[in-house]
Each structure stands twice: as C-alpha cells, then as structure tokens.
Amino acid sequence: MGQRHTTRFCEYLFTILVVLSLNFVLPRAMPGDPFLILSAEHGEEIARFSPAQEEAYRRQYGLDRPWPVQYASYLGGLVRGDLGYSIYYNQGVTDILLARLPWTLLLVLSAVFFSTLAGCLLAGLSASFRDSALDRLLYPLMVAVAEIPAFLLGLVLLFTLAAGLQLFPLSGAMTHFADHGSLWGKAVDIARHAALPVLTLTLVRTGSMYLLARNAMITVLTRDYIRTARAKGLSPLRIFARHSLRNALVPIVTRVFLSLGGLVGGAILVENVFVYPGLGRLMRESVMVHDYPMIQGIFLLVTVTVLSANFLADLVYKRLDPRIGESAEVRP
C-alpha cells in the first residue's frame, strides 16, 4: 500500500511539473505583448512611453531575459510561494489570488455540500421506494437535470429569479457601503448574493450525485445482510441510515472529491454569468488583457487544487474500502 501511494504521488508530482512547464511556455507564446496594453489608447486618454522607459519596465519585470533564465526564476519563485507580479493589476499575483479565492471556494464548497446532501436524500428515497411512482418520476428528471450545462442553467436563473422576479441581486458578492448593523446582517447579504450561483452549481451536480448514490444504494439494498435486517424486523429508516447509506458512502465520498474538478470548470463559467468576484471572473479578465503572470498563477492554482482533490479521492477510496485491491483506480 505504501509503495502504491508513493508511485501515485510521484505520478501526480510529474503531472504538476508538466503543468508548470506548459503553464510557463503557453502565455509567453501568446499573441499580444502586455506592454501594448500599458501604452495603448484603448481608453479615453492617450498615454505615451518612450522606448527607454519601456526598456526600464521590461528589465524590472524580467521580460528581457532569455527564456531558460525566466523559467529558472519562475520555478525558484514558486518554491518561495511567489507567483510573480501582475503587469496589468500592479500587484503581486499571490495577493490577488488570495483575495479572490475565498469567493470561489464559497461557491464550490457550498455547491458540493448541498448537492451531496440533496442527491443522497433523493437517492435514498428512490432506492428505498424503488420502482414506485416517486422513483419513476425522479429518475428521468434527474437525468435531464444532470445533463444541462451549468452556464445555461445559470442564465435561466439569472433572468427569471434575478432580473424578472427581482428576488436576488444580479451580480456581485455583497452590497457595498451598506450599513448592516451586525455580522448576521452581513452574512445574510453575502448569502443572498451567493444564492443563485450556488443554486446553479448545486442543481448541476445533484443530478449526477443522485444517480450515483441511487445505484450504490440499490446495489447495497440487494445484499443479503439487508434482507437479514428486514427479516429481523428493523424499520426502513434504520436500515437506510445504518446500512445502505454507510455502505454506499464509499463511491459517494470519492465522487465528492472528484467532482471538485468538474465544479471548478463549472464555477468559471457560472462566475462570469453572475459577475461574481472569484477566480473564474479573474481568469477571463486576465486572458482579455494578456496578463502573463496572472494567467499562470490562476491556472496553476486551479490545476494543483484539482490534482490534490483527485489524489485525496484516491487515498480516501482506498481507506474507506479495504476490500478494494491495490490495482484499483479511481475513475473521474
């Protein structure tokens, strides 16, 4: 088991290295020079730079050194936790990321929590009352919901609940310069702003979580020990809570970690639909202005997060179910 873990760990490390190098090469080969932005008149005023000034700034940002040297300093900086300095935003990349990360985490973690809860509950109902009218209604509904892409769903919610019925705000993470009076008021405000993005991501994930949980539970319910429990006269609720849920937990929990990767992609699009100040919005903005260090930083953070989640899923899977052989792998 230990050797297996080490091998997997090395694989993940190697993947990260590949990602790092890709991360480094791509933005540099992109068309568009970041200094054009600084000296462009795309706005209302015309700013001019002399070549000497441009050179001075290039030297400061290290863009004039040969690629291998830039790569070495990039890796060195990473080890120190320095993700570079954003040319457009005029701030350290790490600082900007840390400011935006909590908002994305709020969305993603809330969605994981709620979708797991809802999916398991509904699946429990479905599995326990299998082939009943409820089950036959839920199953195709969930299949349909599971397939709709997150941003399309988000658009529907935006136009109906936010713009139409005005139940929720159109954008942003909170109401600014408002006097809430208490921490509770502030929390409610944040929750209101996060409600629609979280709802979108939750709905998207509930479908697949439901299907997975339902399958797992049905498999468990047909087991002999369940029949024994029923024969013993235990109540259905007890059977559900004590036996089917616990044993179905293995694939569910692994799927929770794995879904983080998919949710990150969904969050990127959903944040842009709701103009939510998280990493997704930041990524689009920095791609638009060709801010190399910023794009590198976001991409790296996102990839490392997803890879870590997958690695955790691997660990958890093996810990939870010791029957699984060493050659088993987790399929995302």
Partner: protein, 537 residues
C-alpha cells in the same frame, strides 16, 4: 458529515476577508456636506499616478486625489496649482507661478520644490498617463515660480505640463519602483478628495471630501463607486445616481422629468486606416476618395451604435472639438460617385463576380484588419465596398495584436477605435504622418503615413511650435482642410452616448472641453467659485 465540517471551517476562514479593506486615514465617513453620490464602479487600479490602470476611469479617479498645474473647464485650460504662467517667445521655456497656502493631505505644505520634483520624476519614471516623457531639459525653481525648459518647442506641451500630477517630494523621493508603491502614502495628494476605501476584487472605491482643500469647496461629501452588472437597472432602483443610457431605453427615462438626459460630446471614435506605404491600390487619392464615398457612415451609426454616434468627418477633428473647422470637404455616401472615381483610377475592368480587376488581372481585394469587437462594423464596411466592386477579406484578431500590426504597418485596411479625439489638435500629426515627428507615439495613434504633401508637412510643423493661440487655430483649420482633400484616413464615427442623472439629488455635472464623461471632471464635484468659476464668454 465530513464535508459539512470542512465547509464550516472555510466559511469561518473567509469571513474576515469579506470585510472592507481598512481605510488609509480615519476621516469622517460623510465629509463636509453629507451628500453621497454613487457611481458605477469597477476595478481601475489603485489611484496613485503610477499604479492605476491605463484606461480612463482609473486616471480620473487618481485626478480627484492629485492636483495638477492647470485644470480643464468647459472651454479650455484654467489656472489651478499654477496661478499664472508665461510662455517665452521661442516656445522653449515656461514659467509657472505656484499658488501659496496649499497643503498635502498629511498636512505638510506644498512648495515649488514639490513641483520641480514632480516634473523631474515624471520625466524619469513613466506615470500610467505620461505626457512629458523625455521632453523636458531642465526644471528649476526661483522663489514661488517654477521654470521648465523644454528640449524643443512644442505647443502641446502647455497642456501636457498642465496635466502632470504634482506629487509630494517627501514621500516619493525614496521610491524607486513607483508602479509597485501601493502603500497608503501613495495616495496622499493635495486634491479635493481623499481615498477612504478601495477594494480590488470588488471594484469599489470611496472618496471623501478634503475639508482643508485650498481651492473651491467640494460640493459632494462622499463619492462611492459601486460595481453593478446592469447600470440602467441600478439607476432606476436608486442604487446609482448617474448612468449611461442607450437609445432603446432613452424614451422611457426622457418622459420622467425627474431625470436630466445629456448627450455626451463625441470624443471616442473609430477610424479606417489605409496603408498607403505598403498597399499599392490605395496610393491613388481617387481610390481613397472612392472609399470615403462608398462607405455609408450614417448606416454604421444607425446599425452599430443604434443612433448614438456622430458620423465621421474627413477633416478628422470631430464636430465637438474646440478647434473643429467649419467648412471642410465632405464625402457623402454616394456609391455611383465611388464607382466613377474607381473607373477613373484605372480599375474599370470587372470579373464575372463583379469585382474590379487590377492592372495585372488579379481581383481588387483588400484585407480589412479589425479586433473582435469590430467584426460587425467590418462586415458592414465589406458589404458596402463589395457594392462598388472591391472585395474585402476580414481578418479579426484580438485588440492588442491589432494594435501591434497597425504599429508595424502589417495591414492594408484597418479599423481602430480609441478615445482622445477631443484632446489637443496636435494629434493630427500622428494621424497624418505617423512617427515622423514623435518617435514615441503610441500604437494606434500612428496610422497611415506618406500621403502628406510638403505644404501640409510644413503646416504641421508650424502648428507644433506656434505659441500664439489664434495663429495656431488658423493653422489647424488649414490642416483640417488639407486632410479632407487628401483623405489620409477615414474617421467612421464618433460615439455620442447619453448620460442621465437626477438634478434634484445633484446638478453639478459638467464636461471638460475635451472629454465625454461628466463623472470624470474634477469641477463636477466642486463649487464653481474662484479659479473654477463658470466662464460666460
């Protein structure tokens, strides 16, 4: 469940970051008058002269904090930190008399030494909006006057020197990397407002009135910039006090007398460049005139801006410009005239698809370079050109690549859009001749070169050094007439949106003579007294 506990942990983790960033100084929240104005926010950078983002809103926020030697009102330049100025006969030397009794936000007095330092610093380190890069030979102070000696005479330098922000020497003399200087001292200026809140990720700002301001008293106590995804809806809900209004919804708001709707001056525009240096077909002036007749500028205004724009003038300066010439040659939409001109230019032959043929028998095709935002405009232009027998191949790239290609001369036709059309007429130089005079001109400023006659070149050179305002105006009028004759470039249209606000809440909005956005004018927020008094003549 495990996940639940994880979630709780993270919620507690992020709650502190949800709080506002700490204000740099503890000042009263509401300011002197208590009036709070809310405008559309967005992150435009930390408002120090070196750290804000290049686009408009960032710089004008910075201008609320930092004063300059001269300021702009509806008609032109007015004295501000400089009580008066004298320009020497040879145009090389400017002497500014610096006002006394001005204090920085931290209480220290502003001295002519600060002015000398600021101009020198701006000469060495490029501010985000940098106007006097490398143009100043020497700055010196004597008593309460500051004398600036230029490397060569340039009429536009009055404006440029006037706009350069004055920064406190005692703070900036230790700063080597001004772009990264984002401590709270970086926003200490002598302007009418102080920065009391800035959040990068939310894009929020709050400016509070400086009660010790030397000049006209600020009328607005506190200016708050709040991001919204839909400004018009926010204005209607009372969350914003000013919003740009599109032609489709304008009638709804015009009916309500509680709103005042103002048409913005048309100072942001698009132009079509023709690369005379690299593309043979457009070297003949008849071809360029044909293009001007073939493109329906009014159609572009109607279809793309839905009427909220002014069709372009071949004299280049937009009609709202202070130096716009009255009578210049115009080229109305006239496809027959275009066809006639193209026939005369020797491209009468057509192939079976109706496209004209060049001398060597190849079809008359031009590539039209544009950015992703201008694809629709490019398509409409392409359709009009096809009607007169010119085939267009549209190449759409991202904005910055388009700028790079234009700068490098790698295009045949190109569409670019930018602001600053209201600025000093000196930009005619870069529009007409590109890099000849100013090696530091920015990418989309340099366009087609090589169409200029020696006479026009002489006119351009003379206006650049003419110090007398009236004589300069005369020269610029002649330049516009010549430009219209030559069709050096085709300005397509200048956007003229509308802005609405509620006068009952606040009515101090004004436009600077060369800018379209009322919320960007410093004088919008001040009482119109003293140097800011409204000029009636």
């Amino acid at each position: 469940m495990r996940v639940g506990r994880l979630l709780l942990f993270f919620t507690i983790l992020f709650l502190p970051t949800a709080c506002d960033t700490k204000p740099p100084e503890a000042t009263t929240e509401r300011g002197a008058t208590g009036l709070v104005i809310r405008l559309e926010g967005g992150d435009w950078g930390y408002p120090s002269p070196f750290a804000h983002y290049p686009r408009g809103p960032g710089g004008f926020k910075m201008a609320l904090l930092f004063d300059s030697l001269l300021e702009r009102d509806e008609k032109g330049l007015i004295p501000w930190l400089a009580e008066s100025y004298v320009i020497a006969e040879d145009g090389l030397s400017y002497r500014f008399t610096i006002r006394e009794g001005v204090h920085w936000h931290d209480g220290l007095p502003l001295t002519p030494d600060d002015v000398v330092f600021s101009l020198d610093y701006a000469n060495r380190h490029a501010a985000t909006w940098s106007y006097i890069h490398d143009a100043v030979a020497k700055v010196s102070a004597a008593g309460n006057t500051v004398t600036v000696r230029l490397k060569r005479p340039q009429a536009v330098m009055l404006d440029n020197l006037g706009r350069t922000r004055i920064i406190p020497r005692h703070i900036w003399e230790k700063v080597d990397r001004p772009k990264e200087f984002t401590a709270s001292e970086a926003v200490i200026g002598c302007g009418p407002y102080r920065l009391t809140h800035y959040s990068k990720e939310h894009g929020t700002y709050r400016f509070t009135a400086n009660v010790d301001y030397w000049g006209p008293k600020p009328r607005v106590g506190s200016i708050e910039f709040v991001p919204v995804s839909e400004p018009i809806l926010a204005y209607q809900n009372g969350e914003l006090d000013m919003a740009g209004v599109t032609p489709d919804v304008l009638p709804r708001f015009a009916e309500d007398s509680a709103n005042t709707i103002v048409r913005n001056p048309a100072f942001w525009g698009y132009r079509l460049l023709m690369n005379v240096k690299a593309c043979e077909q457009v070297q003949d002036v008849r071809v360029r005139r044909a293009l001007a007749h073939a493109i329906d500028r009014r159609e572009l205004v109607d279809k793309i801006e839905r009427g909220a724009a002014v069709p372009g003038r071949l004299a280049i300066l937009p009609p709202d410009h202070v130096m716009a010439a009255e009578k210049t040659r115009d080229y109305p939409y006239h496809p027959d005239q275009a066809r006639l001109l193209l026939d005369q230019a020797g491209f009468a032959g057509k192939n079976d698809k109706g496209i004209r043929l060049l001398q060597n028998g190849r079809p008359f095709t031009l590539t039209l370079l544009c950015s992703a935002q201008e694809v629709r405009m490019a398509e409409l232009i392409g359709q009009r050109l096809a009607e007169v027998g010119i085939e267009t191949a549209i190449r759409s790239v991202d904005g910055k690549s388009r700028d790079a290609k234009v700068r490098g001369g790698d295009y045949q036709l190109a569409v670019i859009g930018h602001g600053g059309w209201g600025g000093d007429a000196d930009y005619l130089v870069s529009h007409l001749v590109g890099d000849v005079f100013d090696p530091n001109s920015s990418p989309s400023a340099s366009g087609s070169g090589g169409v200029v006659s020696p006479e026009l070149l002489e006119l351009l050179r003379r206006q650049a050094i003419e110090v007398d305002a009236e004589r300069r105006r005369q020269l610029i009028e002649e330049i516009q007439q010549a430009a219209a004759e030559l069709v050096a470039e085709i300005p397509l249209y200048y956007t003229a949106g509308s802005t609405m606000y509620r006068p009952a809440k606040y009515d101090g909005w004004m436009n600077m003579y060369d800018h379209h956005a009322m919320q960007h004018s410093k004088l919008s927020y001040l009482e119109r007294t003293g140097p800011a008094a409204k000029r009636t003549e």
